[in-house]
Subunit: 476 residues, 2 copies
């Protein structure tokens, strides 16, 4: 029974519930269930109360009460985060604040190329709203059917469009944030340029709800491309993939809208486990790349540019083989292959995942060196490497050896993490390129980041949230 849980005083729970009304104060255990687990099942939290406010005023009232009573609040969007940033701890004393009912698109302005969306707008809903006014909101994630804008911003989400359009941070012009005290910081300005004081917006973006609650944001829109081409490319080596990336960027510039690198092992998993999957190429390639070109001019222009890039790649021996999708259906099929890669890893057993970035030029060296240390930790482990090459960001996942006990493999978690992250650090890379810190990497961040940086982050945290009620136990 929820009332038996430690932590949250029932009378206080009543006061919180009164703010949103009984209907939107989730208190039955079964109803709470979806809010306290996260997609990978690594972190399961406990709470007796999930609040689903329907307005910024309600969020503000919740934070005011939380502030007065020092009640820890865990903001949550679509609950798709991969590092446990959005789930409560196991104390039972943390209240989950779901932003999903704040789901209005307040304004869309195709002339200024901006949209003002509330935190709970689902990414795909925003895609469709932009599409209706002939615009593009380019953030593109595997979870876009359920992830929400507030979470995208709080985690500074990345995805496949970053190479051309940047992360969630770069796509955000302004935010509305309910501060821990309940005050509303309103910076919803549709401005491309604004040099009036410190950049507070970028502190809230990526702060994983530890500094305040993002309730709405001004986001950038782009003209919708008139032509799009998707190619699948086979390459002899990671060096060749790097060279092709630079060729593509040189010729295509901002028209290069995706450059996804895929290793041999994830390709073999995909062929084995994705229903109706067929290999786009016939040969056996060390690496494959999904490359997308988008043209603002015309479909023919996208085609010509794609052909030019591939021709240049063939001539320079960067490309071994390539096929351009012959139809929208085939293009979607290529994308489905790429997006199902994480899924197709599951049937292969336990896995230890890394979300790393290194300077782009270091990618081939990273791949080489990381493979050696992985084998050092577990000789038969299988490296499942794929990711966003143009951002220097690899999902460097390790699947257990075929015959091994899952538990025995997972016992190597820390050693494997350390081995891979040590290579990352030696290359001045990042141990969390796009997924964030959350609970998963907090201890490691604190242990390995330069002490000044941690100290400065702590001071920022205290400056914004002196009572420490905003998503405690996350980030820092």
């Amino acid at each position: 029974m929820t009332q038996d849980l430690p932590g949250l005083d029932p009378a206080l729970a009543e006061r919180f519930a009164a703010i949103v009304g009984a209907r939107y104060a989730v208190r039955a255990e079964a109803d709470i269930e979806p809010y306290v687990h996260e997609p990978r099942g690594l972190f399961a939290g406990v709470t007796s109360l999930v609040l689903r406010p329907g307005s910024v005023a309600e969020v503000s009232a919740i934070m005011k009460l939380a502030s007065e009573t020092r009640t820890p609040i865990v903001p949550q969007g679509g609950n798709t985060g991969l590092v446990g940033g959005q789930v409560p701890d196991r104390s039972g004393g943390q209240v989950v604040l779901s932003l999903s009912r704040l789901n209005r698109i307040r304004e869309i302005d195709p002339v200024s190329n901006t949209v003002i969306a509330e935190a709970g707008v689902v990414l795909d809903v925003l895609h469709k709203a932009a599409d209706e006014v002939d615009r593009l909101y380019p953030l593109s994630l595997a979870s876009q059917g359920s992830c929400q804008i507030g979470g995208n911003l709080s985690s500074n989400a990345g995805g496949t469009g970053v190479v051309a359009y940047g992360n969630a941070r770069e796509l955000c012009l302004g935010v509305e944030v309910v501060l821990p005290t309940g005050e509303v910081f309103d910076d919803l300005r549709k401005l491309k340029k604004d040099n009036t004081g410190y950049d507070l917006k970028n502190l809230f973006v990526g702060a994983e709800g530890t500094l305040g609650v993002i309730t709405a944001a001004v986001l950038k829109l782009y003209p919708k491309p008139k032509g799009r081409e998707v190619a699948w490319v086979g390459l002899p080596s990671a060096e060749a993939a790097l060279a092709l990336f630079n060729t593509a960027q040189e010729l295509g510039g901002g028209a290069l809208t995706a450059f996804e690198l895929i290793g041999r092992t994830p390709m073999s998993f995909a062929m084995r486990h994705i229903p109706d999957a067929r290999p786009p190429l016939s040969g056996d390639w060390a690496w494959e790349v999904l490359m997308e070109i988008s043209s603002g001019r015309s479909a023919e222009d996208a085609r010509t540019l794609m052909e030019d890039i591939l021709s240049a790649g063939f001539e320079a021996d960067q490309v071994g083989d390539a096929v351009i999708a012959a139809s929208l259906g085939q293009a979607n099929e290529f994308w489905r292959l790429r997006e199902m890669l994480p899924e197709s890893q599951k049937p292969e057993g336990a896995s230890i995942k890394h979300d790393i970035s290194v300077p782009i030029a270091s990618i081939p060296a990273f791949i080489e060196r990381a493979a050696v240390v992985v084998a050092g930790v577990c000789a038969e482990a299988r490296v499942v490497c794929f990711g966003h090459m143009g951002d220097g960001n690899l999902h460097y996942n390790i699947s257990q050896p075929a015959g091994m006990e899952a538990a025995a493999f997972l016992a190597l978690y820390r050693d494997m993490n350390k081995a891979v992250h040590d290579v990352v650090r030696s290359m001045n890379g990042s141990i969390s390129a796009e997924h964030g810190i959350g609970q998963l990497k907090r201890d490691e961040l604190i242990a390995t980041a330069p002490p000044h940086a941690i100290e400065l982050m702590r001071r920022v945290k205290s400056a914004f949230d002196p009572a420490g009620i905003m998503n405690p136990g996350k980030t820092i």
Copy 2:
């Protein structure tokens, strides 16, 4: 004599001087002169000591001593800032810290498309270094022959390339900062993606030296365009210019690398005062636009794209007349016209300047409404409006009426500022789009920004610089 000045104890000055050596401790009044005035002559400071450290270790030692002795430090780059952020106050107690000797390019990596430059590297020197490895550093400012990277970042400089490449902030991947205590915050990572904790980088960028001293930065490079076309366009109205901008962005995307709007009055001033200036077009246009297209593919491609945009503009009655520069010489001549606009305003007498931004869709309405309030303050004042239309950023300068006394006109400074800025605020715009706050707009920022925002900025300032020694009297 400098030793008679109040504020800085001579014995303390000796200790500071010893850190950099006598040669680089500027103490003679005549030598100090260039460090205490700024380009517009609005702020003249006083100091008895300018330090010119030659290494990060020296900067660190200076800040350590400053911290121990609570000595205010004013960091300075190329001293081209327009808001007085880089000059000391008149107390004589502030020490100027010139970064100009930290002028090494530490590394340039054309594969990762990054460069690591020290704060004192002159922007044009960086342009040339990038050019030598066939790359582009796209920040483009009128002062690029003397402004420095540290100042560009501290002021989050804008300029003419922002429409395609973003501000100085967006071009920066990492910073090295000497903190007020002398500790070195080293975040010089060449990463496109990094979600490990709060975004401290973007706090230092744009902080006008009030949080720490930027000593080096990792900056983004881009492939050098293979083709460039510059056109001069005559337009019947601001609405037409806005429509043409959207046409150009739709067709050109990231290939649209400049879209500079110029009013009738600045054009007439230019024709009157710029040596050998000739009007690019024969007609009399309400507005003119300098538009630049850069192609990564080829010179022909840039030409075709420019022609397509202009054709579409003609067809939609957005364009009245247009000429594409027939040679590199003519393209440079077009750019010279644009860049000399501020200069050509000077012979017309006193001026009251504004550096504003509004949502792009609001630009025509702003132009209309601002003209009314300007006339309300001074009936015969001449509106000199030009700027970066694609960023919603206008330099909305007001020249005195032809016959008026300069002093009488300048007596209207506050009223004029208030009138124009009130229009900006009513449109949810910014009173400092790209020049920053410095001394010039500090009081206005504090008086008119939302109190929460000011309070949060003050907390950030205290968190980073509890003793208040970093560039006091600026920003906040």
